[in-house]
């Protein structure tokens, strides 16, 4: 563990990413205190005002302060990122563990389900499901989580397949330890490294997906501010109000970039062998 921290500290880019991530979490938590204006209060006298001292990032079509809306929007992005990835990790770990440890028909069934889920282009599947549900922050979290667990399941299964042949597992089986105990105490802790990396890289992917959905108008609904739906409004005013389109996108870019740098740093620090990990491209685009 000490080696891990030393390796991570030596990676300057990962460190920068980590600091930015901490700052972003901080601003999201403190948004009500930091926001200079009420994010939802319209002002007819200030419609589409360019950035100024009072409104550093300008105002939108209803005269609301863009900076305040973006600060509140960061809470949505963060919440969706953490919760949906949490859901995906939980499902993926449980199914991957069961498949890898159990083997046989159970394994085959779970892995064919994974194959099946991966055949659906994710954005099409997300839209199809959202067409039937009422979009809210909760449904968005659930839907992104439920369509994003397949990669983790494959990773965990592969770890389990390798680990269950190792001596320490075979020995605990030989002294009569139960299956659940072996999985929980011996295999799972050793299989968590790739899950941690997948989590750090999964959060930015989920943030991109959420903002994409909100941009299309199918994600978190106005008047709730999110980076995606500010951009959606920016698109309608693109010829007159550049600040509505530029700043929220920049926020997404910086956030995703920082998480990715941190995630790559953690991966290298945990295990240089993981560097060739496949799955990046699968998580890049929704």
């Amino acid at each position: 563990m000490r080696g891990f921290w030393r390796a991570l500290r030596r990676n300057r880019l990962a460190l920068v990413g980590g600091v930015v991530v901490v700052c972003l979490v901080g601003t999201a938590l403190l948004a009500p205190g930091l926001a200079p204006w009420d994010p939802n209060r319209p002002d007819v006298k200030k419609i589409l005002d360019a950035p100024s001292a009072a409104h550093p990032l300008g105002t939108d079509a209803l005269g609301r302060d863009v900076l305040s809306r973006m600060l509140y929007g960061s809470r949505v992005s963060l919440a969706v990122g953490f919760v949906s990835v949490g859901i995906a990790m939980l499902i993926g770990t449980v199914l991957g563990a069961v498949a890898g440890y159990h083997g046989g028909l159970v394994d085959a069934t779970i892995m064919r389900t994974v194959d099946l889920m991966l055949v659906f282009p994710r954005f099409f599947l997300l839209l199809a499901v959202l067409a039937f549900l009422r979009p809210s922050i909760w449904t968005i979290m659930a839907v992104i989580g439920l369509t994003g667990w397949m990669g983790v399941a494959r990773l965990v299964r592969a770890e389990f397949l390798a680990l269950k042949e190792r001596e320490f597992v075979v020995w605990s089986q030989s002294i009569g330890a139960g299956g659940l105990r072996i999985v929980w105490r011996h295999i799972l802790p050793n299989a968590m490294a790739p899950v941690l990396v997948a989590t750090t890289l999964g959060i930015p992917a989920a943030i991109l997906t959420e903002s994409g959905l909100s941009f299309l108008g199918l994600g978190v609904q106005p008047p709730h501010a999110t980076w995606g739906n500010i951009l959606n409004e920016g698109k309608d005013a693109i010829e007159i109000a550049w600040w509505l389109s530029v700043y929220p996108g920049l926020a997404i870019l910086v956030t995703v970039l920082s998480y990715n740098l941190l995630g790559e740093g953690i991966r290298d620090a945990l295990d240089p062998r993981l560097r060739q990990g496949v799955g990046r491209i699968a998580t890049r685009r929704p």
Partner: protein, 331 residues
């Protein structure tokens, strides 16, 4: 070879059944009984009507297996039902009009990605830690983190609004018919430039990264040393011996990334108002046009399945080891 292809085909059949099953299950997410919904009266009314319509169309009052069987029977006759939108045209016809556009976009995008990422990857691998390598690494990280819809908005602002060089929506200008032949071609092409740039940008980052990784691994292999030792020119060593082997895993990754690329067309098509599958899907979702949504889901995922199959078979064509390994594990 034929045996391998047939085996892959057999594995694909249950997946095809799975696709129809999942697409079918999706309609059971439709809003439940009106009592469960707490929002305004109007939406209760419309939900009730929608439920009624779905019940008629898909026989939702019958047992689940019967419903599914009926839906599959209709699908097997390529009957995807009729659209719920006022024009009530057959779903298959609607999809058929839009499929070529999406395919065109994706094929061009794919070719561009390959044409650009292979040289980028090879150059940054053979000149590891050079300025070029560092610049492309930065590009890769930024490319990964850039939301495609934001990149599209920036391009629209720059080339569409500020400079007014390129059209930003649709595939053709309104008075297109009156143009001369060459003017028409240019008009079509100029409408495609921005969407294709956006679509290519996202994938490019990932592929050049993979190409670099794959090349880095290959140039450390013994056979590359051997090729150098026997006095071959560096150009031949890299361009022939190394590149061929480095390209192998890329075929698989290409197959794996297809759903992502096709899914990306949803955003690109809706921003640039391109009449393809992605735009159709978004419209159908807003109009709650369920038959079109389900039809889209089946068609798009079947396309992905076929493309994956082609990638698998291509991989086994270029790398005979795969075929042999498959045969051995079967025994």
């Amino acid at each position: 070879m034929l045996g391998y292809a047939l085996r892959r085909l057999l594995i694909a059949i249950p997946l095809l059944v799975g696709i129809t099953f999942v697409s079918f299950l999706v309609i059971h997410l439709a809003p439940g009984e009106p009592a469960e919904i707490q929002t305004g009266d109007l939406s209760i009314q419309s939900d009730k009507q929608m439920r009624e319509r779905l019940r008629e169309e898909y026989g939702l009052d019958k047992p689940l297996p019967v419903q599914y069987w009926n839906w599959v029977k209709r699908l097997s006759r390529l009957d995807f039902g009729k659209s719920f939108s006022p024009d009530a045209r057959p779903v298959l016809q609607k999809i058929g009009e839009r499929l070529p556009v999406t395919l065109l976009l994706n094929v061009v995008e794919m070719l561009l990605i390959i044409a650009l990422s292979v040289p980028i990857g090879v150059l940054s691998a053979t000149r590891q830690y050079s300025t070029f390598d560092k610049v492309t690494t930065v590009f890769v990280f930024v490319g990964f983190a850039t939301p495609d819809f934001w990149f599209a908005l920036l391009l629209i602002m720059l080339f569409g609004v500020q400079l007014d060089w390129l059209p930003i929506s649709g595939l053709r200008q309104i008075n297109w018919e009156y143009f001369s032949f060459w003017r028409q071609q240019w008009d079509f092409l100029s409408h495609l430039i921005l969407p294709i740039t956006v679509a290519t940008f996202g994938g490019l980052a990932g592929f050049s990264r993979y190409m670099r990784q794959s090349m880095l691994e290959v140039i450390r292999q013994d056979y590359v040393q051997t090729a150098r030792a026997k006095g071959l020119a560096e150009r031949v060593v890299i361009g022939k011996h190394a590149l061929r082997n480095a390209l192998l895993p890329i075929v698989t990754i290409l197959g794996l990334s297809l759903p992502g690329l096709i899914g990306g067309s949803i955003i690109v098509e809706s921003i640039f108002a391109i009449p393809g599958m992605g735009q159709l899907m978004v419209q159908a979702v807003f109009e709650r046009d369920y038959p079109v949504i389900m039809g889209n889901l089946v068609v798009v995922s079947t396309l992905t399945l076929v493309a994956n199959l082609v990638a698998d078979v291509t991989y086994s064509l270029v790398d005979p080891r795969i075929r042999v390994a498959g045969r051995r594990s079967r025994r």
